[in-house]
Structures are given as structure tokens and as C-alpha cells.
């Protein structure tokens, strides 16, 4: 019997699950949202493997294996989907996709401005021969 009790593993599993859920709800990058969902699955996997150890039954590991498989399937679809969506909006921000909503509701936009970005590092003075690097336009807050 493991000196570490089941309870501890379950708690770590639950914490990963909940952290993944919070990440799913808060991160706005589509890829991070998907990875957060995967983190929820990691929590579940931990639960299952801990229970499998506890009960001395391989079923939990089998289920975990299939969860990993399905996660891989979903990742494949997610990758393709996110790429196509990126191609249209040129951004990974999921909040850009809110055209479908109840009519006569205003879109949700970011109102609070970002703090001023740190000043760009001093550019080394280039000799005249080289082309002057273009200033990167700053990202403005959108939708």
C-alpha cells in the first residue's frame, strides 16, 4: 500500500480539473482554451489512475488510455478548426466570435485600455547602409 493516500491524489486531480475549468473560462486564446480542457482531462486521468491503483483494477488505466486517445482525436480536429478560424479573423482571440447571439444585444467589448506598453528598447544605431527597421504597430484593443 502506498504511503500516500488516495485522498491526496484525488485532491490533486480535483485541483487540476478545477484549474483547467477556470482556464477554460478565462483564457481567451483558443489554443489555451483547448489546452485547459485537456488539463481538466489530466485531472480526470489522475483520479482514474489513483482509483485503479487503489482498487487494484486495470479498468481505470484502460479508461485513461481511451481518454488520451479521444483527446488526441479532438486535438486533431481542434487544430484544423482553429487554423481555419485563424485564417478568417487573423487572431486566436475567441471573443471575436460573438456574431451569433440574441438580437439587439450589444457586442461585448473590452473597455478598459491596456496600460501603456513598456518603452521599446533602445535600438542600436545602425549604419546608414542598412534599412531602418519598421516600427511594429501596437495592438489596439478590439472587440
Amino acid at each position: 500500500m502506498s504511503p500516500v493516500n488516495l485522498e491526496s491524489y484525488l485532491l490533486v486531480g480535483a485541483a487540476l480539473f478545477v484549474l483547467g475549468m477556470v482556464g477554460f473560462l478565462t483564457r481567451r486564446n483558443m489554443i489555451l482554451i483547448f489546452l485547459s480542457a485537456e488539463m481538466m482531462l489530466q485531472g480526470v486521468a489522475l483520479n482514474l489512475v489513483a482509483f485503479a491503483r487503489y482498487h487494484g483494477d486495470l479498468g481505470g488505466q484502460v479508461l485513461t488510455l481511451f481518454i488520451v486517445t479521444v483527446a488526441a482525436c479532438e486535438a486533431a480536429v481542434a487544430l484544423a478548426l482553429i487554423l481555419m478560424l485563424y485564417r478568417r479573423r487573423k487572431s486566436l482571440d475567441v471573443s471575436l466570435w460573438q456574431e451569433l447571439r440574441e438580437p439587439n444585444l450589444e457586442p461585448v467589448v473590452d473597455d478598459e485600455p491596456l496600460p501603456a506598453p513598456p518603452p521599446p528598447p533602445e535600438l542600436p544605431h545602425l549604419p546608414v547602409a542598412g534599412p531602418k527597421p519598421e516600427e511594429q504597430p501596437h495592438e489596439t484593443s478590439h472587440v
Binding site: 487494484g56 481518454i67 479521444v70 480536429v77 478568417r88 456574431e99
Partner: protein, 527 residues
């Protein structure tokens, strides 16, 4: 692994022949699609596939019977073929045929092969969900319904709305499956087995007092109901539905409204132990379904769901959004059955919750698929049917189509002589005939349901009024579309036919058979 168990494992393959046929045809269509882009060809091939699967189902072995006592532990197999499975398999294949017809002229030649192949896999998933007797199989079967859906939502159209719908559905579906498997992990933890029968048995071990389940099972109950509630479109897990219905293809809206709801409910029946395999030895099964907590959860879920759906449907102008909220409301009515099922007395022939649920599911499938099929039929690229106003004056230009649509809507309202009425009747009467200490709670549930149904009548009637009482803005010009028409005819025949005998009695007999397994469990629980 005993010899008998190995024998049994080998013995389940004949039952899986229909699904194998579907998967095989799907492979052929996938491969063939790279060679030829022809929607008639691939729709025809997959139609043949469904017919072949139906034939195989009919000719194949009957249910795994309890006749042989040596087979008693057939319940320990990962898949189960009891009457419920058979019913869902047959329903799934019929649904496949219906959707092939519905989408026959709706998909472009170029995507037809992928579309129909995905549909084949999805339909195979329906039967397997019902057959699952193991958390592993159940999880995979549910994903077999989900993953083709992502593709089918995205592929047919490349515009922003469809992409947004696919994105929303995909992300939330992944989220909901994470919730479901979290519940599965706790269920597994209770018994140390992935087999559903064993899990439910463990929940009913002599140490546990009746009607009370361990806390882990309560957590599992909530997360599983939440995750599957996403498929049922139960509030507050339904939010994707209006957006996805509006943005995605109409055919997909129909698919989500019926197939996903059905699989969600069947998965709930299985995993919570509402339906137990018939050859399980009659021990005192409590399971999760018959616990004290479950009816409470479903009580509240039903009330929130139907109220939310109906209230928001009242303020909609977009047809697909309206039907999306209507599907939410109907999920609420169906959830009533799950709240009442554990309490229903089971006198000879009385309709219990599970039977009412199955009846209503099937009836609802016919009418809602019909309504969506009508929208798909009427729409043309030049003259899309999006808002309620687009239906104006349909009775003038196409009286027969208007009447058909009216029949679907009447059935959704629950006007007598339609399947919708009979279904609602069974649900509400079921709730009224609960004879428990707290029967008044279920009377209240029925009352809330009736009030909701009355409110619901209003927005459906608004559609009828628009069709019959208004001048058309711009006349509709549906293209002649034989498969689409066939879908409508099948749906209207089912909507009317299942509402009155002999159709209704026939269907009741079948759902009774399918739900019959629940009987043992309940009888014992009441003792």
C-alpha cells in the same frame, strides 16, 4: 478471464454486425469521396448501408436473453443488447435514412461523401450508446456521436456564421465531455470497476442505507447530468444551442435537436441505472437513479429548463433560434419523466417515466425533424427562410406545405390527435400519478409543466398565424426536391400516426418492452 466469459465476449460480435456494416460503408464512402464527387451516388450508397444495417439488425440474433442461467453474468460484458438497445439501434438507422433524405440535395457534390460518411459513423454511435454497459464503451460511443458532429457542422459551409457555430459547439462539447468523464472517474472510484452493472451493484451494497448514495456518487451524478445536459440542451447547459442552430446548417440543427438529445437521454438512462439489463439477477438495485438525490436534481433541472426555454422562445424572431429554444423547453418536459420515474407505481400497463420518456423522445424526433426539414425545404439561396416573417402567407402560396408545417407545430404545442399530445399526456399524467409521501411536489411539477406548455403554445401559434393570416412579403419558391419531400411525408406520417392508434399503441408496446427492464429495479426499490 473465465472460459464462459471468453465465450460470451466472442458471442457479442454478431450483435455488432449492423454497426460494422455502417462503419464499413463509411470507409467506402470516405475513400470513394476522393475519387468521385457525386451527392446522388454517395447518398444512395449510404442509404443502402442503412438498409443493410436494418436488415442485419432484423436478421441478427435477438436480445441477449436471460433464459440461460449460465449467461447471468452476460451483464458484465462491456456491451449489452437488450430491448432498449434494439429499439435505439432501429431508431438510429431510421434516423440515418431520414437524414440522408433530408440532406440529399442540401449538401454540395464536393462534400457529399464526407458528410454522409460522418453521418454513418454518428448513427453507429447512437446504437452503441444504448448498448454500452461499460464506462469505456459509453465514453467512446458518446464521442462517436460528437466528433463527426464537429466535422459536419463545419464542413458544409465556409462562412463566418457556420465557423462560429462549429467553434462554439466544439469548445463546449469538449468541456462537457470533460465533465462527463470526471463523473465517470468517481463512479469508477466507487466500485473499482468500469462495468456499469457492477458499479450500480456496488452502489447498492448492503452497507449503504436505502435511497442514499455516497457523496462521490452524488458528485458523479451532478457532473454527468451536467455534461450530458449539454446534449439534452437542459438549462443552464443549453446556451450553445440557439447560436449553433442559427449559424449552422439547418440539417445539423435537426440532428442536434433530435439525435444528440436522444443519445444524451439514453446515456443517462444507462449510466444512472434507470434501465437495468433484464438478465441481471433480481437483486435490490438502487443505483443512482433510484436514490434520494436524483429526483431532486431532475426536478429542478426540469423546471429551470422548460421555463428558460419557453420564456426565451417567446421573444425570438429567428426561426431556427425559436426552434432551438423550443428544443430546450421540450428537454424540460422530458426531464420531468426522469424526476418521476423512481416514484411511479407500476401497475399492469401504467406508463412509467422511462416509457413516457422514450415515447416522447420518438414523437419529438418526428415533429422537430419535420419542422427543420420544412425550413430546409422552403429555403433557397435566393430566398432564405430565416425569420418568422419569411413564412408569411405560406398558406396562400403552398397550402399543403403550410398544413404540414401546421401539423408539426400543433404537435409541438401538444394539440390532441398528434404524437406530441399523447407524449405530453403520458408525461403529465405520469407526474400526477406519483404516489409517494411527497406526491404534491410532482403535482407541482406537472402544474409547472402544464403552464409552460400553455405558454409554449403561444409562440408556435404565432408561426401558424403568420403562415395563415398574413400576406407574403416575397413569395417563397422552394425548388422541387423529391428526397426533401419524402422526409416531410415520413415526418408528418409519424407525427400523426404515432399520436393515434394503432400507431400510438404500437409504439407504446415497444417502448414498454424497452423500458421493461426498469420494472424490476423499481419494484424492488419500493419494497
Amino acid at each position: 478471464m473465465t472460459e464462459a466469459h471468453a465465450q460470451l465476449l466472442v458471442g457479442i460480435w454478431p450483435f455488432l454486425v449492423p454497426e460494422m456494416i455502417l462503419a464499413g460503408v463509411a470507409c467506402i464512402v470516405f475513400l470513394g469521396g476522393t475519387v468521385r464527387a457525386d451527392r446522388h451516388l454517395w447518398a444512395g450508397v449510404s442509404l443502402l448501408g442503412y438498409v443493410a444495417a436494418l436488415v442485419a439488425l432484423h436478421l441478427g440474433p435477438a436480445t441477449t436473453t436471460p433464459a440461460d442461467p449460465a449467461l447471468a453474468h452476460a451483464a458484465l460484458l462491456p456491451v449489452l443488447f437488450d430491448p432498449l438497445t434494439k429499439l435505439l439501434q432501429a431508431l438510429g438507422f431510421l434516423t440515418g435514412i431520414l437524414f440522408v433524405l433530408l440532406s440529399w440535395n442540401e449538401v454540395d457534390d464536393r462534400q457529399a461523401a464526407d458528410w454522409h460518411a460522418c453521418l454513418l459513423i454518428l448513427v453507429a454511435g447512437i446504437g452503441l450508446t444504448a448498448a454500452a454497459n461499460d464506462l469505456v464503451v459509453l465514453f467512446l460511443a458518446l464521442e462517436m456521436v460528437s466528433i463527426p458532429t464537429y466535422v459536419m457542422l463545419y464542413v458544409p459551409r465556409e462562412n463566418a456564421a457556420a465557423q462560429e457555430a462549429a467553434l462554439k459547439y466544439f469548445l463546449l462539447s469538449v468541456f462537457s465531455s470533460a465533465l462527463v468523464v470526471f463523473g465517470f472517474s468517481y463512479l469508477y472510484g466507487i466500485a473499482g470497476q468500469t462495468n456499469l452493472t457492477l458499479i450500480l451493484e456496488a452502489l447498492n451494497a448492503p452497507e449503504t442505507s436505502a435511497r442514499d448514495i455516497p457523496l462521490l456518487a452524488t458528485v458523479a451524478l451532478i457532473t454527468i447530468v451536467a455534461g450530458l445536459g449539454f446534449r439534452l440542451k437542459a438549462a443552464p447547459f443549453h446556451f450553445y444551442a440557439p447560436d449553433v442552430f442559427q449559424g449552422g446548417p439547418t440539417v445539423m440543427a435537426a440532428l442536434l435537436a433530435w439525435v444528440h438529445k436522444a443519445t444524451g437521454f439514453v446515456a443517462l438512462l444507462r449510466v444512472l441505472g434507470f434501465v437495468m439489463p433484464p438478465h441481471v439477477q433480481p437483486r435490490e438495485f438502487i443505483g443512482v437513479a433510484l436514490s434520494e438525490q436524483t429526483p431532486i436534481v431532475f426536478w429542478f433541472l426540469a423546471v429551470i429548463t422548460m421555463t428558460w426555454g419557453n420564456a426565451l422562445a417567446l421573444v425570438q424572431d429567428n426561426l431556427k433560434r425559436l426552434l432551438a429554444y423550443s428544443t430546450v423547453a421540450h428537454a424540460g418536459y422530458m426531464l420531468i419523466t426522469l424526476a418521476t420515474a423512481p416514484y411511479l407505481r407500476h401497475e399492469a400497463g401504467a406508463v412509467d417515466g422511462v416509457e413516457a420518456l422514450l415515447y416522447y423522445l420518438i414523437a419529438y424526433g418526428a415533429m422537430t425533424v419535420g419542422a427543420f426539414a420544412m425550413l430546409a425545404y422552403l429555403s433557397t439561396p435566393e430566398r432564405p427562410v430565416d425569420t418568422i416573417d419569411d413564412l408569411a402567407g405560406l398558406s396562400r402560396s403552398h397550402p399543403a406545405l403550410a398544413l404540414t408545417m401546421a401539423i408539426f407545430l400543433f404537435s409541438l404545442i401538444g394539440v390532441p390527435l398528434t404524437a406530441g399530445f399523447t407524449g405530453k399526456f403520458l408525461i403529465f399524467f405520469g407526474a400526477m400519478s406519483v404516489e409517494a409521501d411527497h406526491a404534491y411536489l410532482f403535482w407541482m411539477l406537472a402544474f409547472i409543466g402544464v403552464v409552460n406548455a400553455a405558454i409554449g403554445g403561444w409562440y408556435y401559434l404565432r408561426l401558424i398565424a403568420v403562415m395563415y393570416l398574413r400576406q407574403p412579403l416575397q413569395p417563397l419558391a422552394p425548388r422541387p426536391n423529391l428526397p426533401g419531400l419524402a422526409t416531410l411525408i415520413v415526418c408528418v406520417a409519424l407525427t400523426l400516426g404515432l399520436g393515434v392508434p394503432p400507431g400510438s399503441t404500437w409504439l407504446l408496446r415497444h417502448v414498454k418492452g424497452a423500458a421493461g427492464a426498469a420494472e424490476t429495479a423499481r419494484e424492488l426499490a419500493r419494497r
